[in-house]
Symmetry: C2
């Protein structure tokens, strides 16, 4: 069986055939960097991270482009209203690009904690103004775009296929744009490729009309994806909320330009909170910083991977507890195997082959991570059976360990990556707790000198103990 994936464009599962043999060009719409990353971002970027990891595991060379939207994304995804970055900059009285820098940094810091591998290139919209203007000039020259009051709009009426991706028709394709701006347009469905900059608009560039303006959000991604992946590439991904208008408008431009553009469109579905849409206005908005206060980032990752990328995922405390239990069982099994297999022992690879095959079958079926995890849990069950048998050969454990490192580690990203082991706060906690336990024993045995020695030595390391009738706690003040 070979890889099949659900193409949003055809709404069907299709065989995956790349433009160039052995190579995958993947473009995923990145964050608009005006606020702290939240659980919805985690859902999208963990989903595509697993997809990239699996494609690489299958032997493809992947060029993964994930842009940074740092200009032109307007509030409400509309053609008027405030630029999200600029609005934030005005709110806290900083330069727009300082906002961009800060939240770009936050995005990657949180993604790093989720063990999301960095994209190969993270192009910024402001870094590709000339490419966008060239694209717009081409559309103007072809008569597929027109100018009104210094802004440039795409002429949807010439495009009979507009709506093909989102399946929207008629009134569904109209946003909430103000009437004044709608009146500028020939057709209310038309969308802005370039917006004229008002005198107080800080982010502005000279345009092909000899005036000053800033790019429309939908144009940016066409310019950046084709700049790095060519006019025909393999996969275009993003969150489900981007399907309309963003991706529909991208596709319309690509069609007008005569580009094949993306063969497959993949959409990571939304994350809900206890069944509700997550929104600041509903007060159930959870940033990753908040989530990581009480949850190990890998538990959040596990929780996301345990769902299918194309399904809505509902976040709740109980769901997260389930993820934590499962992740612990997975990681404990791996540690148990590590204790059985000497470091330099190489795995022969003949044993347990069926688990690898079934894992890949699951992933080949539209990246079905829930199914792939189910197979890993069968393997966990089998490993525990083997661990209880006295005569299991080390070769078998070595193969099992190898499988976990590849499938749970390399592909799903659920094992802590090597460097973090010695930095693991859990391990420090566990060794300190072991010392506390020894001290407790000494006190029980009335070996007070030894008990005091432990307290004193920990204190020298900056670790303070507090004894109470409920036991001893420690802190690093």
């Amino acid at each position: 069986m070979s890889l099949r994936l659900t193409n949003s464009l055809s709404r069907q599962k299709e065989d995956f055939e790349t433009v160039l043999p052995g190579h995958v060009g993947l473009y995923v719409c990145g964050p608009t960097v005006y606020g702290d990353p939240h659980l919805g971002h985690a859902k999208t970027y963990v989903s595509f991270d697993v997809i990239v990891r699996y494609l690489r595991f299958c032997g493809y060379t992947v060029t993964y482009i994930q842009n940074i939207t740092d200009v032109g994304h307007l509030v409400g995804d509309e053609d008027d209203g405030a630029d999200k970055v600029l609005q934030k900059a005005q709110e806290i009285n900083r330069q727009p690009m300082a906002i961009v820098e800060h939240y770009t940094c936050r995005h990657f810091a949180m993604m790093d904690r989720l063990q999301v591998q960095r994209p190969d290139i993270s192009p910024r919209a402001t870094g590709h103004i000339p490419e966008q203007l060239q694209l717009i000039e081409t559309l103007l020259a072809q008569g597929k775009a027109y100018e009104r009051n210094g802004s440039i709009y795409f002429d949807v009426s010439q495009d009979s296929e507009y709506g093909i991706l989102s399946g929207r028709k008629g009134e569904d394709m109209l946003g909430g744009t103000r009437v004044a701006v709608r009146n500028e347009k020939k057709d209310p469905r038309d969308f802005a490729l370039w917006k004229h900059a008002e005198p107080d608009h800080l982010m502005r560039w000279r345009d092909c009309l000899g005036q000053e303006g800033f790019p429309g959000w939908h144009t940016e991604c066409v310019a950046m994806s084709t700049r790095y992946l060519g006019n025909a590439f393999d996969i275009h991904g993003g969150g489900m909320d981007l399907k309309f208008p963003h991706h529909e408008c991208e596709l319309a431009q690509a069609r007008a330009l005569g580009h094949d553009y993306a063969r497959y469109w993949l959409h990571a579905n939304l994350l809900t909170i206890n069944g509700q849409k997550m929104a600041k206005s509903l007060g159930n908005f959870i940033t990753l910083e908040d989530a990581f206060q009480t949850n190990n980032p890998l538990v959040v990752r596990y929780f996301i991977v345990a769902g299918h990328y194309g399904s809505v995922l509902d976040f709740s405390d109980s769901a997260l507890q389930g993820a934590e239990t499962s992740l612990q069982r997975l990681q404990q099994t791996v540690r148990a195997l590590q204790r059985k297999v000497p470091t330099d022992f190489s795995a022969p690879g003949q044993h347990l082959q069926q688990y690898r095959e079934r894992f890949c079958e699951a992933m080949d079926d539209d990246f079905s991570t829930p199914q792939a995890l189910a197979i890993l849990f069968e393997l966990i069950h089998e490993v525990h059976r083997l661990l209880q048998q006295e005569n299991t050969a080390t070769e078998v454990f070595a193969d099992a360990l190898n499988l976990f490192q590849q499938l749970a580690g390399d592909v799903l990203g659920l094992l802590p990556e090597t460097e973090s082991i010695t930095h693991s706060p859990e391990l420090l906690e566990q060794t300190i707790n072991l010392l506390l336990e020894l001290r407790h024993d000494f006190r029980q045995q009335k070996e007070f000198a030894r008990a005091d020695l432990i307290r004193q030595r920990l204190q020298e390391l900056g670790i303070e103990l507090q004894d109470s009738k409920d036991g001893t706690t420690w802190e690093i003040p």
Copy 2:
């Protein structure tokens, strides 16, 4: 006394007067992102980090811009030859922007480990092509630049002040550019603002001549600094090796454009290895990754802070050992104070005031960090005297702790920042070593059951012990 700093332009210590009251605009030339960050980068960016931290400590609002050079920096800092990024991209067969992404990431990862605070904005040269082209058009229109074979050069002969920053004259101002390119120039001192792109040159943009090319390194920094700081700003910094030709050429353009440009030019001096220039060709090139294998990044930071930014700093194992000893003494003193002062105790601030004043006097004198550290060590000495006195009031310790947190922590960046404490690999190492010591004692006392329990419990945590006649070692396989 108020802040005075050595202006490279006047070669004198000058009083620091800002363009806008209370605000400092600082531009520092960032890395060219084609290779792994090395000790020289640490020297430059730690130096400016301390300067930024001190200015903020003094109450200034600082806008710190540090660019990323991702195009146009040619091998040998010349006007011909390969683009450093492009050369690397061809070497390892990747897209130039993937090289840029990777090494930008590496730069910040290493700077984070050195506790170098992120700049407010890290503009990329490729993100400011329109600004550069506008600048070049202005110079062309004024007749201060000219075109030859699709490249655009700055006409040095019209600038009687050229050489004023570096103090270079005549032949000293000629680089090693090939004769063919020199012949393109009216004056061999002329430098490229824009280079015509050969057909195989991957990084290219449409230019004002209607052809395609890429920016000259010296133009990029003029465009980016004035874009974010205005045409008159406070400090322009960079490594000493950038004074000529880079900064001299920046200043010439700014002069031609009629910009006041930077009031003060600061140069962080070079880092040598055992008295020799650090160079790949000499085989003494030390990346930060290498340096951090054997040294805590904060020891490297201490080592840099212990020298003056404007002096050459010689790296050697013995110098680093000295830095380690001093840093440990500093951090131990802070931990001793933390044990004396309850967490919620607020420092009255009246005690030890003279140390703060003398520290600031030292820093006000051209950011004399060696002198500032000497004063902190006087304070360390005083604190240890106070720690031995039984009747020292907690207020005094609280003031001392507060001073260290502000001066050694906030300003010099030498105290581990809070989050890293529980992630500290050293602390984990120390607690494991404490357990090994206890186990050793048990074995000496023939309490083998207890000794074995420690081994077993550590093994459960994934920590393996190896006993030999030289003692016990541990590893996390």
